[in-house]
């Protein structure tokens, strides 16, 4: 049985700052214990609704930034969609939040100083800046491709321009950067910068497209998926997706413990939301099953 390399902790954190970033909300929480264990790609699971809440599942957010201030702060970015995130958006400085983290398998980083393209869709780009920072400390060249439906949904364009050698922005309505999707410009960027690897985070459809481009160029691609979770710690079994293992066998793996970072070509994007007939333990897969 594989042990998780980093032991998560549960902390009651204090909200330090809240801010609006275009269409998104960002919360900075003093969360000692999580910060020192954090590596790029980790996420946190946040309880919502306060004590006695009727909302039983935790919300998972990838970590945008960690800082050593005040004993350690964690920042995460989200959209106020449902009642849980709406509650989070109403938090103010000095409110407390129950966090569990850091969770998940972080992004593996290259040993050598190579050139990496970081691709972010919507607020998925929030997690890429910690990756960029770690890559640059290893002497890697970092280039950004960020995209979203419209200008106010592109997260972190300014910071990407400061950190990246080049930054290419796309919006579907043409309100910022190139009109189109990240996958339209990605082949050009990879060719121009002679990229050695791709890191991506965003909606599943985007990750599928980014993986296809990277496979075409025959360079490694790491994707961080955003599946819906109830717990974040690997007990609820709801965040599974079909992933091909080292032995060539497809398994329904939990994106919270085996992910959220996967090798892109190992994820069966076409089969997400189904049980592929050849997955281990699939109904009618040759072995008898209960039921």
């Amino acid at each position: 049985m594989r042990e998780t390399p980093v032991t998560p902790v549960q902390v009651t954190g204090t909200v330090l700052t809240t801010r609006r970033v275009d269409a998104y909300h960002a919360l900075t929480v003093v969360a000692p214990g999580i910060v020192e264990r954090f590596r790029p790609g980790h996420f946190v699971a946040v309880a919502v609704g306060g004590p006695g809440t009727s909302m039983l599942t935790r919300r998972a957010f990838s970590v945008h930034d960690v800082k050593p201030d005040y004993g350690g702060t964690v920042e995460f970015v989200f959209t106020a969609g449902g009642p849980g995130t709406a509650w989070l958006a109403e938090r103010r400085a000095r409110d407390t939040l129950d966090l569990v983290g850091p969770l998940g398998r972080p992004f593996p980083l290259p040993r050598d100083p190579v050139t990496c393209v970081l691709v972010g869709g919507e607020y998925g780009s929030a997690m890429l800046f910690a990756v960029a920072d770690a890559l640059q400390r290893r002497g890697c060249r970092v280039d950004f491709v960020l995209g979203a439906a419209s200008a106010d949904r592109v997260f972190g364009a300014l910071r990407a321009r400061r950190m990246g050698e080049t930054t290419t922005l796309t919006t579907e309505d043409g309100s910022l950067g190139m009109r189109g999707r990240v996958t339209d410009v990605l082949p050009g960027v990879i060719a121009d910068v002679r990229a050695d690897a791709v890191y991506a985070c965003g909606p599943m459809e985007m990750l599928r497209g980014v993986t296809a481009v990277a496979v075409e160029f025959d360079i490694p691609v790491q994707v961080a998926v955003e599946e819906r979770m109830a717990c974040g710690i690997g007990v609820c079994m709801t965040c599974v997706l079909p992933v091909i293992g080292d032995d060539g066998v497809t398994r329904m793996v939990r994106s919270c413990v085996e992910g959220p970072a996967f090798r892109g070509e190992r994820v069966r994007f076409d089969d997400v939301g189904t049980i592929p007939f050849d997955a281990l333990g699939a109904p009618g897969g040759g072995t008898r099953h209960a039921g």
Partner: protein, 324 residues
């Protein structure tokens, strides 16, 4: 003075009455990152099946008011991998383990019991008669007393004599007491209730069912009154049978409610998704509640709500501690 929290599942003594609910603690290792699982009375595994199971497609989960609707479909590694890796991992740490088993036929339950009978580290076997997630909706054993009894009798006949067999019941049964009675007649040493009632939710934006499996098992505090009712009715009808009570236990108060209704063991399930420490917290809170009400032993509170109106809450002295 500390409260004596020891309890009995059949003849097996547990250090305290708190266990995890089946399917809510994965392999055990996930929660062990947070605390020593040995501090719980027992850990109940997910339902083990003969072959590996990939489970249901996603989305598998929808949050409902004070509840969680889930259709995981008994995803698990199968009995071979369970016996090779997960059970030894638990046994090495001296964690009391209740192994839940699930099958599609009486023969499959029996085969599972045969595989478990010589495995070290099995404290008890819980027969999942009622998982609403199972692929073939045509056969939910727990709805039918005769079918449930057949499974229980068959498992009991092959299981080691010193391993209690627990029958897990469904509140979807028309008459939970008659199913409970049939299971006890079939040889069940204890009963466990409740499994998730079947529920459904519709995504009003997509105008489609929220779950890929359409229906799912409802859990969480939303089902607690249903669970307390089942425990109450079964304890009233079969006062001598140990009951593992579960259904939306979030706090020590909730666990105490089950104890008063007649449960001698209380399982924590969905709460673990919200708070990985829920089991330990519920145990501590339950002990505090018992102490605050002047109980010296947990056993004195079991089923106490059944006393006739007007009777005092005097502690039961009509039985001595079992020499077992």
């Amino acid at each position: 003075m500390p409260v004596d929290m020891r309890t009995y599942l059949g003849h097996v003594e547990l250090a305290n009455p708190i266990t995890t609910a089946a399917g809510c603690a994965a392999s055990g290792a996930e929660l062990a990152q947070f605390f020593d699982l040995g501090r719980l009375g027992a850990v109940t595994t997910r339902s083990i099946t003969m072959a590996p199971r990939a489970g249901r497609p996603t989305p598998r989960m929808a949050e409902t008011p004070s509840g969680l609707l889930a259709a995981v479909g008994l995803q698990g590694p199968g009995v071979d991998a369970f016996l090779a890796r997960e059970l030894p991992w638990l046994a090495q740490r001296n964690i009391r383990t209740v192994v839940s088993i699930g099958g599609g036929t009486v023969a499959e339950y029996t085969a599972l019991a045969r595989r478990l009978t010589d495995a070290p580290g099995v404290t008890a076997v819980e027969v999942n008669l009622s998982c609403p997630n199972i692929e073939d909706r045509g056969r939910v054993f727990a709805l039918d007393g005769a079918a449930s009894a057949e499974v229980v009798a068959s498992v009991r006949s092959v299981m080691r004599y010193d391993v209690p067999v627990v029958a897990k019941l469904s509140p979807d049964a028309l008459d939970v007491v008659s199913v409970a009675r049939a299971c006890v007649d079939g040889g069940a040493d204890a009963l466990s209730m409740i499994n998730n009632p079947l529920g459904m939710s519709i995504d009003t934006d997509a105008m489609r069912p929220s779950l890929a499996a359409v229906t799912g098992g409802l859990s969480g505090p939303a089902i607690r009154p249903l669970a307390v009712r089942c425990v109450w009715q079964v304890h009233a009808a079969l006062p001598g049978v140990p009951i593992i009570g579960m259904g939306g236990v979030l706090t020590g108060r909730d666990a105490f409610e089950f104890v008063l209704a007649g449960a001698c063991v209380v399982a924590v399930g969905t709460a673990l998704f919200h708070d990985p420490y829920a089991g330990l917290r519920v145990l501590r809170e339950l002990e505090e509640i018992l102490a605050a009400r002047g109980f010296h032993r947990l056993a004195d509170a079991v089923g106490l709500a059944h006393r006739p109106p007007g009777a005092t809450t005097r502690h039961r002295t009509d039985f001595e501690e079992s020499p077992l």
